[in-house]
Symmetry: D2
Subunit: 134 residues, 4 copies
Amino acid sequence: MAEKQTPTHIEVRYAETDQMGIVHHSVYAVWFEQARTQFFRENGADYAEMEREGYGCPVLELGVQYKGPTHYGEFVDIETSATRVDKLRFRVDYKLTVNGKLCTTGFTVHCLMKDGRPTREMPEKFLKLFNETV
Amino acid sequence: MAEKQTPTHIEVRYAETDQMGIVHHSVYAVWFEQARTQFFRENGADYAEMEREGYGCPVLELGVQYKGPTHYGEFVDIETSATRVDKLRFRVDYKLTVNGKLCTTGFTVHCLMKDGRPTREMPEKFLKLFNETV
Amino acid sequence: MAEKQTPTHIEVRYAETDQMGIVHHSVYAVWFEQARTQFFRENGADYAEMEREGYGCPVLELGVQYKGPTHYGEFVDIETSATRVDKLRFRVDYKLTVNGKLCTTGFTVHCLMKDGRPTREMPEKFLKLFNETV
Amino acid sequence: MAEKQTPTHIEVRYAETDQMGIVHHSVYAVWFEQARTQFFRENGADYAEMEREGYGCPVLELGVQYKGPTHYGEFVDIETSATRVDKLRFRVDYKLTVNGKLCTTGFTVHCLMKDGRPTREMPEKFLKLFNETV
């Protein structure tokens, strides 16, 4: 079971808004990735280090449900959790709130690559991410 | 029935790559939007003009399936089509190819807003977008 | 004299890297803006609030000197200071370090707009930003 | 003497605007890079190919003068030219217009890298870029 439940805290950047006066919908995937990085790191899997060891986690699928806008001047909190889909793929879920109010949910599906190929052999530290009894 | 089938032709930008050496997954939503703009325009609904008239089409949902990477130096083609989901919502689908090879598919779900509120009354020119007999 | 000297602390995002394996040079302007927002806020001038009051600070000029790269996995610190150029324009300077090592310097030049027009009448709270005896 | 004078033609993307209703100032560096890529390519130096050959052109300096805004719905044209600064560095200049009206000027300074180190030995095809009698 992943232990980390500290939300990722992100300040909305002016550059992230569009002329509708809200954060552009493409930005959430970038925020999710920052949350994923922190979630990995706090569970012992530093992604920058993993890349140096030859691992990679390409995104196979992305889904975002926009329930309400976010604005410049706000701070968003993202809760992250991960589950395994099958031997090769895992899914990360994101719940984004502003001042406790739910704004957006989303998910990404990944596989684990080692030296350029999908691998079923996840390193021990990586397995800790998933919400399951190992 | 939407008449427009001209694919949107986009040159991959260096800034759109990441250190994995491929286009970052968040970029596709931006490309989809450029394809949507062209699709709207070629079917008679100029979105910049629509905004000046008080309309807006916020994104309610985004889905992307990454089937293969794209790279700097490549040009991507995006085919766009639209369908109505219900009285309030419509969906736009995107099919992205590089040299005829399918790379990515995706969709966005929108509602139509008029003066800040969802509306069921779509302007005549807007109805032409949808793949249906009106 | 501006009192704020707390550096802005920013985590490098994966999406901010390019295929050279370093942060793309266009990203620094976005980071500078986040530093500027914090600098303004800590000196009593909340920019989101200023916009609601009818003010704006468009960027008239940008300069960046890249002295060394930054990478995913690193945290950058930005020191910000501001000076007046003349009655209409002011300049903000940025010094970016990683672990105390200087990476990049830059500046932006702005004017202050009120209700869509350049103004010489800066609000009291805004004057506190500048490194000068008022 | 560089022969290419075809301007780079770019459609403004919705995602490139900010809540001021204009294109965000950080976007111009991305557009400049797209113009630089085309300028290189039309003069015989394909940058994607150059990277595969071990070359790189990191940005050492960036300067942008914003003379007027650009908007969603507009198309921008960028004229590009290059000059050598000294044995190691070269400068690329950009002139951005919308419908013939000057909006923004800018420049980037680069060095040429070969296999990770600055080099004075520019390949023949690269020398054609510069506005000089070689």
